[in-house]
């Protein structure tokens, strides 16, 4: 059908041409420039920029905090999705909409408010700081804000799968004598697993690149609370474009790998659908 259209419907070359042009100018060219600049560095210079002690601790923090945040989201998001699909409670529709708020709220606002909530005089900090829990300007603060940023991803990937989940398999499991926990663990959870993993990967990928919110809550101290994107900006402000690019290429490659992985995961989780 689609190949016949080309002779009948107008605008094939126009729309495709414009699409490819815009994509190349706005996206592909800059990415190519980034790699070109990095490849103009000598191997030693590249390595020297990418593998300094300060950079290493920034990577460790970026990936560590993102992993912890995404892992927490796995449980929190899974729970919220479960409650939203399975239970009835007043205000459910509102809760369902505000789960998306972290996607709509500017990251700067998220960072600003998280930095003020967990300080000593803040709304939550006044209870937590006396307990010794410092949720602002620490690594914990970074994790907290990343949990906020990544929450919708897990909820929104698990929710539809749970909604489409076939009730008969649960009934079968229950008639065969499984209790509710066994049913959940052996029947429901395996079916949700691909969606959970995809949600985890999406949240993780988003957290790695996150800048706007972290810059507010972290305090940005090298070796302590400095994440990789902040390090890039620091290098840029020293006009060390080469070093900044080297770190950026590393980050870029990681996120490209993540993108491919997520695509593959989604295809893998749907592998039985079209048969």
């Amino acid at each position: 059908m689609a190949s016949v259209n080309r002779r009948v419907l107008p605008g094939f070359s126009l729309s495709l041409g414009y699409t490819v042009f815009y994509l190349s100018v706005l996206v592909l060219l800059p990415i190519a420039a980034c790699f070109a600049k990095a490849s103009s560095l000598s191997l030693d210079a590249f390595w020297g920029a990418v593998w300094t002690a300060r950079a290493r601790s920034a990577y460790l923090l970026t990936f560590g905090a993102s992993f912890v945040a995404a892992f927490s989201n796995l449980f929190l998001g899974g729970l919220i999705a479960w409650v939203l699909v399975r239970y009835k409670f007043p205000g459910k529709r509102i809760v369902d909409s505000i789960v998306d708020l972290p996607l709509a709220l500017p990251t700067a606002v998220g960072g600003l408010v998280y930095s003020s909530l967990y300080v000593k005089r803040g709304w939550l900090g006044r209870f937590l700081v006396p307990l010794g829990i410092q949720g602002a300007y620490t690594r914990l603060g970074i994790v907290l804000v990343l949990v906020f940023v990544g929450l919708p991803f897990v909820v929104r990937t698990v929710q539809p799968v749970l909604q489409d989940f076939d009730p008969e398999s649960e009934e079968a499991s229950s008639t065969l004598g499984a209790n509710r926990w066994q049913t959940f663990y052996t029947v429901i959870l395996p079916a949700l697993l691909p969606a959970l993993i995809t949600g985890f990967a999406l949240a993780f990928a988003r957290c790695i690149g996150e800048y706007g919110s972290v810059v507010f809550v972290s305090g940005n101290m090298p070796f302590k609370t400095e994440i990789a994107p902040i390090l890039i900006v620091a290098r840029l402000e020293e006009f060390a474009y080469g070093e900044a690019t080297a770190i950026a290429v590393l980050l870029l490659t990681t996120s490209l790998v993540m993108l491919v992985l997520i695509n593959w995961l989604e295809r893998w989780s749907r592998r039985y659908e079209n048969r």
Partner: protein, 375 residues
């Protein structure tokens, strides 16, 4: 190629309308239900509701008068609002144009590399905003690949750019209004290549001459991109690039080409077909994409941060202004501005759920998936 049917068709019923199953096997004990619901509500409350309420509480802590003063008495803050209001529409318009044309090409025609194209549209989501900004600096910045070219002495690129833009618009217009039926084409409509060549260069020449002769406004300006307005637009457009296209492609796939084929066979030209058939069909999907794109564009921080240069009162958008106020320990000011952005976000959610209820089949693609794959 799975984009179409699989994404387009609603995977779950619209909010609130789903039937909570009454089957006994799916029922959890009451105490489990209650405690899980309570935990979930606490999580949502602590992570999302408390921060939002806190923004408004902090902003209004010293009364409405101070709030008002914080927002509108500071010229730099005021300027950041104007700047955001002028950057976002341009980036949005560019991405809508791209989204419509990409959706048209991808959903209506088959061509080699289509799957790759769909995958490439997602690319900006995978790029950290800071890296996106850096890439623009590498191209257009002072030491960038095009930096020297753009600011060469005595050479200004603006007339050429504007003339090229005019010529391209003229050519696009020609193709849009050309009768779709080959038999109906008469006169100039019959010779596209001649028109392209002569018309395009004529438009280019005339525009160039007009600008040069009367020395209209941009003629003697060299084009400054980084640390200036165009850079902000480019960065914003990059980051929000996929939203509209990702929303429209599944919608147009689900609707199918039949009505457009009918319109064309009845003699409509491209513009008529688009305006009277395609656009009314996809308007809700388009609105949905625009809303999401808009929210992200307004709030964009990382990419804009890198390209803006933070010239107070000149290149600070609203999120950047918040950061600056925060650095200056002017928290009431920062929260006042933040409350405006929060209000926009809440309105966005409201409009989004309204749209999801209005046209569930069109827009109920789970949003999180937009940020990754589904190719």
């Amino acid at each position: 190629m799975k984009t179409g049917e699989q994404i387009g068709i609603s995977k779950h019923p619209p909010d609130g309308q789903e039937i909570v199953s009454e089957r006994r096997a799916q029922k959890d004990p009451a105490w489990v239900q209650w405690s899980l619901t309570a935990i979930a509500l606490v999580v949502v409350g602590v992570l999302i509701v408390v921060p939002v309420v806190n923004v408004f509480a902090e902003a209004l802590a010293d009364g409405v008068g101070v709030y008002w003063k914080n927002l509108f008495a500071d010229p730099d803050t005021l300027q950041s609002i104007t700047l955001t209001l002028s950057v976002v529409p341009i980036a949005l318009l560019a991405n809508v144009l791209f989204g419509v044309s990409a959706a048209w090409a991808i959903s209506r025609f088959s061509f080699p590399g289509r799957t790759l194209l769909v995958a490439l549209i997602d690319l900006p989501f995978a790029v950290s905003p800071v890296v996106a900004g850096l890439m623009l600096v590498l191209i257009f910045g002072l030491q960038g690949y095009l930096g020297e070219f753009l600011r060469r002495d005595g050479y200004s690129i603006m007339p050429y750019l504007i003339s090229t833009l005019g010529a391209v618009l003229a050519i696009v217009g020609y193709f849009l209004f050309r009768p779709s039926n080959a038999h109906a084409r008469r006169g100039l409509w019959k010779h596209p290549f001649l028109v392209l060549l002569v018309g395009g260069s004529a438009v280019f020449g005339i525009l160039f001459f007009v600008q040069d002769y009367w020395t209209l406004w941009p003629v003697h300006k060299s084009l400054k991109i980084i640390f200036a307005f165009p850079g902000l637009v480019l960065a914003t457009a990059f980051v929000t690039f996929p939203f509209v296209a990702r929303e429209l492609i599944p919608v147009m796939n689900a609707i199918g080409p039949e009505e457009e084929l009918a319109a064309v066979s009845l003699g409509a030209n491209g513009w008529q077909m688009f305006w009277h058939v395609t656009l009314p069909n996809v308007k809700w999907g388009l609105a949905y994409g625009v809303i999401l794109c808009n929210a992200r564009a307004i709030g964009e921080f990382g990419a804009v941060y890198v390209v803006s240069g933070h010239i107070a009162g000149k290149t600070d958008t609203m999120p950047l202004r918040i950061e600056k106020l925060f650095q200056e320990y002017n928290l009431p000011g920062a929260f006042a501005l933040a409350s405006v952005l929060t209000l926009v976000a809440v309105l966005t959610l409201f409009a989004k759920s309204k749209l999801e209820r209005k046209a569930p089949s069109v827009v109920s693609v789970p949003e999180a998936n937009h940020t990754g794959g589904q190719v």
